[in-house]
Amino acid sequence: MENPLTWLRLILVNLSLLSLLGASEFELEVRPFLEKHCLRCHGGEKTKGHIDFSEIKSMSDAESHHELWEAVAAVIEDQEMPPDDEPPLSDDELALLPNWYQKVFLSDIEARPTIFKPRRLSGPEYRNTMRSLFGFDLEVNVIEAEQTVAEKSLVLKLLPTDPPGPGGFINDTSEARLTTTIWDQYSYLTDVALERYFSDTETIDPETVLRDFLPRAFRRPVSDDQLQSILKDLADLSGESLLPALKLEIKNILMSPAFLYRGFSMPVQPGQSRQPVDPFELAERLSYFLWEDMPDAELFELAKSGQLTTPAVYRRQIDRMLASEKSISLAESFGKQWLLLDQITDDRGDPVTIHALQTQPRDFLYYLFTQNRPVMELIDSKTTFANHVTAAFYPGDRKQLKGVVRPRGVERIRAPNQQIELVNNPERGGILTMPGVLAMNKGPILRGTWMLRQILGEHLGEPPADVPPIQSSPKGKNLTFRERFEEHRANESCALCHDKIDPLGFALEAYDTRGKFAPVSKETELLIDTSGQLPGGKDFTNFMELKQILMTSRREQITRNAVERLLSYALCRKLERFDRPTVDALTTQIVETNGTWQDLIHGIANSLPFRETIINSSTTQP
């Protein structure tokens, strides 16, 4: 490391975050335990289940893998690990890791915010921010004929697609570094925007332009000195030389770190390490959370006057922002990424069908998020959205749909969805039985895995690479896929995950690969077996019964997952050990009050990690 201060800072950070006791316990007890019992299969050469303990060398490594330990403690407590062919654990050893986990990750935990870190705008955030700044969208010229697809946004077309960060969402750009490619595209996009912005202006007053532009671009007020210093450079220019110079000034602003990143300009409270974020940072946090966009004038003015932090004002702003069309980003970006909705496709790749299947859950989520609907309606709701393409999935209720007019000689159209109430189609309702979601996960295993990961929030490992294919029926026997699969997964280490996955997936077997409800098998003409038992002993005979179990005994787990995902999205980062109290409190509140998404959004916007930060000013240079 070049800078000794960076070193010092790391040490200070670590000292301030970790209890010395936790660290020494890890070194003296946990690490030797892992080496003795786990590392042979989960480290170095073998990394079964893609779990690699050899990467975890210190307490700080252990902390950054905090989500791992809950599962590790559980398999040890349930005596699922180590497997039978390994030396058994003594009673002390049996208790060691679960106790350590309980103490370090659950009991000793105190909520605190994270250390402040600037973050580069994601692709969609950059697109929206440029749109808000300039008042127009940067678009590609392409003919969007029906049944064709084209990326219309010039920004999204040119910028490389952001990978999801450690937090699971693309707005966590902590690992999506700025590159020269991105730099070139920023430069180009800025040129294009400026060209258009000034294309039909006759007379330009640089001061008017910059007074308007500067604070909006930086998302905070700009001192008069700063403005004057730019104006000074332009003072002697006029006519043909003024415009290029002014463009360059604005380009300079839009290529500077203060625009491209969030947080570089937040003022620091002297002498305090933990502090509330300042009103402008708060306005930005709220606006990028709810709109994926910069604050608008109203929010900005409230930050400026100091009123934003007044609870009643803050509350009203959140409700106003949710009521705005811009909050579609909650469904478009958060919802889509959370539930992997952009993986919804159609066998034939038909854009009209794909459009219908993808917009249906989007519109449903948008309704839940913004119409004050309970969080659990994600799983069970009497309301859904459909258009003429998805209508076929709702034979009993499709009559509620108003017809769409197809212009003469136009073969197919993409029509908007309409809200319908489910009365005669009890097999639908909630996200799990939406045709697109069913079609995206083909077969019971993928459906079960998706439900476990995205809805119940379980961290499943990857299946081992050396699993043999599922055998076909032996001669003389006509076994169903389910029966053949039962034999296939009889292996103990497979059962570890498949006991959880399979009942969920097979419960949806009455829906075919395209999501159609077809409870009777075409081959046997018998009702398809959709029964099952969840680990822990809850029996069900079909998906409707499973849904009731999810709504009751799994309510807490589902809510907790929703809280974690939305909080992670709002904070643009991975949740940490010390976020657990925040998650616990929000989960309890929602579960106990049958809280709505709007309640949850308010809760997050008022939560400690959202409202506060830690500035490590000990390393600030004089």
């Binding site: 800078n3 004929a145 064709t148 070139d184 360059l248 034939r348 490590n616």
Partner: protein, 534 residues
């Protein structure tokens, strides 16, 4: 070589807005031409291709009768007929059979729809001619991707036969050609000064904060350093990158398809003239284009209208012909533009080869014969223009491709299904279509008719799905059939040729009508339609 040209801002001619500005006739290429063995200067030869979607309405497109030098252009050719002396109109091009839309776009530059594992011919030419220019080639289009049958959206394919992404936005292309810091020294200078300034901003942030931000700022500063290095490296290279394009005018944002396409055609000509590239492929639409030409007053989709037999109405035929005429006007637009640029001792078109056409013939039943193919430009002497070549037999497109590849110096001995070049393009001998004498007659017995004579489509657009067989000394027999017959007997294939047809007959107002085909036999050609399904 010193190429410090100063292009006038009026060099970029906008046609879409209708205002033509005086032609500059700058002889930009004078300094960049090569010399041949006898010491004469030789300008580079460029290759362009313009793809027309959805086939054609054959009676409007086909030239009836006529010979190599003595022919009358068809009604659909009217918009570009004024360039007759620069054209080589090819007829009887294609396979024998039907073509799907996606096969038709593959066939257009890859010779045959089965040729899916090799590069399209434009890319082979780009390999040959593209190394000296800033851009090896450009692949352009107008329309979004048709994902149901992705092949409909591509004509250019790479060495593995995989589709090459296309670009549709004229502004984006202009900027790539003329506003990229890597190609334009002024842009580099401006980027350099920008780097200096944002670096100062970043450093002042660094001084102010010094918090956790340092790491993120380091990442930012690193990118600034790397960008600077790239600019310096580029500045050190002499040659084409020194040309100052800053006075060229960026095309305005197009208001409709017509403006989008005309801007792109402007750019194609400009890119060629400035020697930014020597190979461009451009699709006027996907091969099954779903576009709506509302600016022509046509509100139905092009693809729907192109199935003019099945979706017959006079209104639909009118719409289809308006769209087709528009395509022909764009071809004319490109040729006019290429002629407007002086290039060496002639025009840009003299040193270019433009391949215009489609990948199927009849737009409703998708026959893969009499595919519209027109070559324009003399290609610096490669082609002898001003002629109409109607070959005696169907010629696969790959034969034409092989010929062009060889003329561009690609050492190919075969391409797709062809191992021998197509004769006649340079004025050499070829076997011209000659009609042999035949007799025409008709016979009616028990409601069955047998008729021999030349089959033709009605030239009355009010009945565009009707055919006639002309019989000497008698009224022509009217063929009024369902689509099923039309398609399964591939009636379109036989149009213009003598056949023997049998079927059910009836009479209405003295007119003999054949309403159901039971057999069809070509007097001199093939009979079995075969080939890929339509």
């Amino acid at each position: 070589m010193n190429r410090s040209w100063n292009l006038d801002r009026r060099t970029f001619l906008r046609g879409a807005a209708g205002a033509l500005v005086p032609l500059p006739f700058l002889n930009i290429m004078e300094n960049s031409v090569a010399k041949n063995l006898s010491g004469e200067t030789v300008p580079p030869v460029r290759f362009m291709t313009l793809f027309k979607p959805n086939g054609v309405h054959p009676p409007s497109w086909n030239i009836n009768g006529g010979t190599e030098f003595d022919f009358r252009t068809s009604p659909l050719m009217a918009p570009f007929a004024k360039h007759r002396d620069d054209l080589l109109i090819l007829d009887n091009m294609g396979d024998f059979g039907f073509s799907s839309h996606s096969n038709s776009s593959r066939r257009f530059l890859s010779g045959a729809h089965q040729n899916t594992k090799s590069a399209s011919m434009d890319q082979l030419i780009a390999d040959k001619v593209g190394s000296e220019t800033p851009h090896r080639s450009l692949e352009l289009t107008t329309e979004g991707l048709f994902t149901n049958q992705i092949g409909c959206s591509y004509i250019s394919y790479d060495r593995e036969g995989a589709p090459i992404p296309r670009e549709s936005d004229p502004q984006l292309i202009f900027d790539r050609l003329f506003r990229d810091p890597m190609s334009d020294p002024k842009q580099r200078k401006s980027m350099s000064s920008l780097l200096d300034r944002v670096r100062d901003d970043a450093k002042s942030i660094q001084r102010k904060t010094g918090r956790e931000d340092t790491e993120t700022l380091d990442e930012y500063l690193t990118v600034l350093r790397e960008t600077e290095k790239r600019l310096d490296n580029r500045d050190a290279i002499s040659g084409a990158s020194k040309v100052d394009f800053s006075k060229l005018e960026r095309p305005p944002s197009p208001a409709n398809l017509n403006e989008q396409v005309e801007s792109m055609l402007d750019l194609i000509a400009l890119a060629m003239w400035t020697d930014s590239t020597r190979c461009i492929s451009y699709m006027l639409g996907n091969s099954n284009s779903r576009m709506i030409f509302d600016f022509l007053g046509v509100t139905e989709q092009h693809h729907y209208l192109s199935h003019f037999f099945r979706n017959f109405s006079r209104h639909n035929i009118d719409g289809l012909l308006k769209i087709s005429l528009w395509h022909m006007e764009k071809f004319d637009y490109l040729l006019t533009k290429l002629k407007s640029y002086k290039d060496h001792h002639g025009t840009l078109l003299d040193h270019s080869v433009v391949l215009f056409g489609s990948g199927m013939g009849h737009s409703d039943n998708h026959t893969a014969q009499r595919i519209p193919i027109v070559l324009a430009g003399k290609g610096g002497g490669m082609l002898k223009t001003g002629r109409y070549l109607r070959y005696s037999k169907n010629q696969e497109l790959s034969r034409l491709h092989l010929t062009l590849l060889q003329k561009f110096g690609v050492p190919a001995t075969s391409y797709a299904n062809s191992t021998t070049p197509l004769p006649g393009l340079d004025g050499g001998p070829f076997e011209e279509y000659r009609e042999r004498p035949f007799q025409s007659w008709s016979k009616i017995e028990n409601g069955k008719i047998t008729v021999q004579g030349r089959l033709r489509m009605s030239d009355n657009l009010d009945e565009a799905k009707v055919f006639y067989i002309d019989v000497d000394g008698k009224a022509p027999v009217r063929i009024e059939i369902e689509f099923k017959d039309f398609h399964s007997f591939n009636v379109a294939y036989h149009v213009g040729t003598p056949i023997l047809m049998t079927g059910n007959s009836s009479q209405k107002d003295g007119q003999i009508i054949l309403s159901k085909i039971t057999g069809i036999k070509s007097l001199f050609g093939k009979n079995d339609p075969g080939g890929a399904p339509g």
